[in-house]
């Protein structure tokens, strides 16, 4: 929240009537719904969430211990907004966009105390502004007026705010400026700066939403290969604790081919945020070679931070995402975990004594979820560029039971479902994404991209893998009753091929320096190698070679090592021909 909007106490201020955890009521406060207010002597930030007669209910974004009735409540008259401008990449914010490093400095402590505020972007820092407009140009909402090299990777495009009238440029200044310095002057007497604000609960306007057509390549075989998400698409990853939600989200944040990554740690572990802060600066973006941190913005409301700010952190995140989208970038937002956001809603709702819906969640749960995911998409921007926001939400169902309201309401909205499976996690099959339950509704519309960029055989080979895995699932049921040896030879061989699909293709070790990222080409090649083994093996079987001899071929287990090969092309070619010759020797 911007300090620039904080006003001093004036008429219309109220007094605290009651305090109960993060919920405070005030009387005598002149406020509108969703106004930001400052509560108590310490000026704790809060937001108006209910007005009933003279009683205004406020959710407070900070701890309220020691706050008493009678203390003042001051209204800013503004909704919760974020500061937008250069300096957001490489930053780490709390749920209301206070930069955590600035808070550390201001507080002089490793612990987060309350009542300190800081603007979301540094108001003093100077940026190199290169105008993209000149005297006489007419500009309107959304137009790019200049460029600021924000990080090595990202040019920050300075935009005319979407709610701004526009006008004719009188002067555009080239040079070094702080974000509030005027950089473009208009004939209307107004001037534009590099700094704008936007209310978080309101989607930034666009011209039109389009149907996505290219994949958000994740470098994860099971995702790209079987259940791809589109740029501008939505995905949910539900799973019980320890099944791999966070590792998957981190993998996406690291390797997805987005221009910008917004990572929202919503009500999860402090150390997981620390891990990102420590790791990302040293990791290279596989496409640009630059530090990953240069394209990343982190928003952290860890599980022990105030619960009301958990409710706001996803909005803070998506608003920042939309801002970069408006510049024509492909933005990917990960929210880990949306369940904590829903629970924050539930907690506030129950303190308001609202009528509870399913499992105590407020009746508006479904509406809030769909409003949020609706902000994802591939868009035609106001300025004629095209940009996308992809949203990937982790879901943490109680007891791992997917029938609960947050999972169910999310699945009704998102088009990609990556179902995590505790059984797979227990046997250290990672990523523990269940291939029978997961789906992607983008599959067909993304095929042309994969056919063009990788191979025209992409869909066919994928279908073969799916069919083989399906067949395995059926055969496994029989094996559970009679044992593998009771199956006919061809079925035993199918099981063996399926085992390689699971071990060499579906499994991928996020912690292995090479295996952690797998290009679509490599993904396709691994599948190809397994397919080649399959075809050779069945020929051998037809020629009368016993199944044990086929599966005992010395080279076959090396399929499992393709993932860790840096020079996989050579390795695959060599392996395929060795398998072929070893099998052909048998007949």
């Amino acid at each position: 929240m911007s300090q620039t909007t904080q006003e001093t106490a004036e008429d219309g201020d109220g007094r605290i009537a009651s305090v109960s955890g993060p919920v405070v009521t005030a009387s005598g406060l002149d406020a509108r719904m969703n106004d930001v207010v400052y509560v108590g002597e310490e000026g704790l930030m809060g937001e108006v969430i209910e007005i009933e007669g003279d009683v205004t209910t406020v959710q407070v974004y900070e701890e309220t211990s020691g706050v008493s009735p009678g203390e003042p409540v001051a209204n800013t008259g503004e909704p919760l907004t974020v500061d937008l401008g250069p300096g957001m990449l490489d930053a780490i914010y709390d749920g209301v966009q206070r930069p955590l490093d600035v808070l550390e400095e201001k507080l002089g402590s490793a612990f987060l105390d309350r009542g300190v505020d800081a603007p979301g972007i540094d108001l003093e820092e100077e940026w190199e502004f290169h105008p993209e407009v000149e005297e006489g140009d007419t500009i309107e909402a959304g137009d790019v007026i200049g460029i600021v090299p924000e990080t090595v990777t990202i040019d920050h495009k300075v935009l005319v705010p979407p709610d701004f009238e526009g006008g004719e440029v009188v002067e555009a200044h080239e040079g070094s400026f702080s974000v509030d310095d005027p950089v473009v002057e208009l004939d209307t007497g107004e001037s534009l700066t590099m700094h704008q604000e936007w209310p978080v609960r309101e989607a930034r306007p666009t011209v039109e939403k389009r149907s996505p057509r290219s994949p958000l390549v994740s470098g994860q075989r099971i995702l790209d290969g079987l259940f791809p998400i589109a740029k501008g698409g939505t995905a949910a990853i539900p799973g019980p604790f320890g099944s791999g939600k966070t590792v998957t989200q981190h993998q996406l944040a690291k390797w997805a081919d987005a221009d910008i990554v917004i990572y929202v740690g919503c009500g999860e572990r402090g150390n997981e945020m620390t891990e990102v802060i420590e790791d990302f600066p040293d990791l290279e973006d596989p496409t640009t070679g630059n530090a990953l941190m240069d394209r990343t913005c982190l928003i952290a409301n860890t599980s022990n931070m105030p619960v009301a700010a958990r409710e706001s952190c996803v909005y803070t995140g998506i608003t920042i995402a939309e801002y970069y989208r408006d510049m024509g970038y492909d933005v990917a937002l990960m929210a880990d975990s949306t369940s904590r956001w829903a629970e924050a809603m539930r907690e506030i709702s129950s303190r308001l004594e609202e009528m509870p819906g399913e499992e105590g969640y407020p009746a508006y749960l479904a509406a809030r979820l769909s409003q949020f995911y609706e902000r994802a998409g591939l868009f035609d921007n106001l300025n004629g560029t095209e940009g996308s926001v992809s949203v990937i939400g982790a879901v943490s169902p109680p007891g791992g039971d997917f029938s609960e309201p947050v999972t169910q309401n999310t699945l009704r909205i998102v088009k990609t479902f990556w179902a995590l499976d505790a059984d797979l996690a227990e046997r250290r099959h990672f990523p523990s994404i269940n291939w029978n339950e997961s789906y992607s509704l983008y599959r067909d519309q993304l095929d042309p991209w994969f056919e063009g960029e990788v191979s025209e055989n992409w869909p066919e080979r994928r279908q073969w893998a799916i069919d083989t895995l399906d067949e395995e699932a059926e055969l496994q049921e029989i094996v559970q009753l009679v044992g593998k040896d009771a199956l006919p030879d061809d079925q035993q061989l199918t099981l063996e091929v399926a085992r390689y699909l699971r071990e060499a293709y579906l499994q991928q070790n996020a912690f292995h320096p090479t295996d952690t990222y797998c290009s679509p080409q490599k993904t396709f090649a691994i599948l190809g190698a397994i397919r080649a083994f399959n075809d050779e093996a069945f020929s051998a079987l037809e020629a009368g070679v016993p199944v044990e001899e086929i599966t005992d071929i010395e080279a076959v287990p090396r399929l499992n090592r393709i993932g860790v090969q840096e020079d996989w092309e050579e390795y695959v070619a060599e392996l395929e021909s060795t398998i072929e010759s070893q099998l052909r020797e048998k007949y």
Binding site: A17, S18, V19, S20, G21, E63, T64, S65, G66, S68, P69, G70, I92, L100, D101, L103, E104, S109, A110, F111, L112, D113, P240, G242, G265, G267, R269, G270, N271, M273, T274, I277, E278, A300, T302, S303, N304, V307, E343, R346, E347, S350, G360, P398, G399, G400, D401, A422, A425, E426, R427, R428, Q480, V482, G483, K484, D485, F511, E554, R561
Partner: protein, 476 residues
């Protein structure tokens, strides 16, 4: 301090009173009963003219004539290094007859959140001497790793074994003489006198008491008091770790009793209950305890937590283990079946997990083969476990040679790797060595999760193994 005799309602652990001055949320209240007894409580809700007070020591004996006074401050824990060696009750009052505690500072027991920017990612290996933990679910300094157990299972023995044996292998600069010992903070919530004795005797026997601080809320102590006990313990832990540079190991037992107390308070307040009657904010509440583990950049010490909880009905989807597992950095399962087979400690590694393991192990930390060995043993044990069901139906003969090897692997894994006894302390080298012995019973080609070079280095062919064992026997 103004005294009120304005109690309007008493309900369960709650007292409501009228006031004519503003009272701060969370503030501490003193209630004097007619017979002169003083109870402490905390403000749960404060509004103009009326407050709701949660009474720690229970409300029995309080009537409407009791007087209420407000201390004007939230609950504080007096902290000092002199707390080491002391035993206190669940509200922090000494019960060991020792000298009065002269605090160095008084700290708010509701700790502020550690700024994620200020944290240091935990990655220093703690050797617990327990193979199932060190080898498969490695604990690191600053981690929160709970024990998921059931009633009647030996979780206390395991926790004590860890507390006794835990060391951090020699630091490079050698400034610590013999590994580093931990200061142990023991927070008991609603455990029986007998269990408490088990801990105290062990602490005394091993001399650990000197470097321990004990907070005891026993089964017959008031339930509401349990909500402050872990906060006192953690406030003390943070002080010792981040102000005084100690590496602190906090054992909290039994978190289930703590959660029951939360539920009781929620019910008394007539809150809308969440799953199975536990308050909707239980996740946040537990997180405010568990997240107080960690390391801070530039500070010497660390807070490592081992909370123990008994899963009602051994059900890990019950809200208490479920919410805990969502917050902590893994969990260690103590298993009823393994226990009845006499395996000590009866740790089921399959559902167990240490999320901080990956960064805490490997070359220079433990050993280069650690991650691969652990991965491979997980996969092999899981496969053997699966086959046990099948073998019950079709018999061993119907299984292939490969399957039989996995079955044997699973048996030997339990008997040799997991079942080490509560008094055996194994180095990480020993644990991994046993791991290799077991893995070497499988064909080399099956070890697809292990780097080929490591296989060359550590895999022993069956014949070698025998001769090696003989050599080992003579060397002894």
């Amino acid at each position: 301090m103004k005294e009120y005799e304005t109690i309007t309602e008493i309900s369960g652990p709650l007292v409501f009173a009228e006031v004519d001055e503003p009272i701060g949320y969370d503030e501490i209240v003193e209630i004097k009963t007619a017979n002169g007894e003083t109870r402490r409580g905390q403000i749960l809700e404060s509004s103009d003219g009326l407050v709701a007070i949660q009474v720690f020591e229970g409300t029995s004996g309080i009537d409407r004539n009791a007087s209420v006074s407000f201390t004007g401050e939230t609950l504080k824990m007096p902290v000092t290094e002199d707390l080491l060696g002391r035993v206190m009750d669940g509200t922090g009052q000494p019960i060991d007859g020792g000298p009065e505690i002269v605090p160095d500072s008084r700290r708010d027991i509701v700790g502020a959140a550690i700024n994620p920017v200020s944290r240091e990612y935990p990655e220093e290996f703690i050797q617990t001497g327990v193979s199932a933990i060190d080898g498969m679910n490695t604990l690191v300094r600053g981690q929160k790793l709970p024990i998921f157990s059931g009633s009647g299972l030996p979780h206390n023995e395991l926790a004590l074994q860890v507390a006794r044996q835990a060391t951090v292998p020699e630091e490079e600069d050698g400034e610590d003489d013999e590994g580093t010992e931990f200061a142990v903070i023991f927070g008991a919530m609603g455990i029986t006198q007998e269990e408490a004795n088990e801990f105290m005797n062990d602490f005394e026997r091993t001399g650990a008491l000197e470097r321990s601080v004990v907070f005891m809320n026993l089964a017959d102590d008031p339930a509401v008091e349990r909500t402050v006990t872990p906060r006192l313990a953690l406030t003390t832990a943070e002080y010792l770790a981040f102000d005084k540079g100690y590496h602190v190991l906090v054992i909290l037992t039994d978190m289930t009793n703590y959660c029951e107390a939360l539920r009781e308070i929620g019910a008394a307040r007539e809150e809308v209950p969440g799953r199975r009657g536990y308050p909707g904010y239980m996740y946040t509440d537990l997180a405010q305890l568990y997240e107080r583990a960690g390391r801070i950049e530039g500070r010497e010490g660390s807070v490592t937590q081992i909370p123990i909880l008994t899963m009602p009905g051994d059900d890990d989807t019950h809200p208490i283990p479920d919410l805990t597992g969502y917050i902590t950095e893994g969990q260690i399962y103590v298993d009823r079946d393994l226990n009845s087979q006499g395996i000590q400690p009866p740790v089921n590694v399959l559902p167990s997990l240490s999320r901080l393991m990956d960064d805490g192990i490997g070359e220079g930390l433990t050993r280069a083969d650690h991650a691969d060995v652990s991965d491979q043993m997980y996969a092999a044990y899981a496969e053997g476990e699966d086959l046990r069901d099948l073998v019950n139906i079709v018999g061993r003969e119907a299984l292939s040679d490969r399957d039989n090897r996995y079955l044997d692997f699973a048996d030997r894994f339990e008997a040799e790797f997991v079942d080490q006894g509560f008094d055996t302390n194994r180095s990480i080298d020993q644990s991994l060595g046993i791991g290799w012995d077991l893995l070497s019973t499988l064909p080399k080609e099956e070890l697809n999760r292990i780097d080929e070079e490591l296989i060359e280095q550590y895999y022993t062919d069956e014949d070698d193994q025998e001769s090696e064992q003989e050599a080992g026997a003579t060397a002894d």
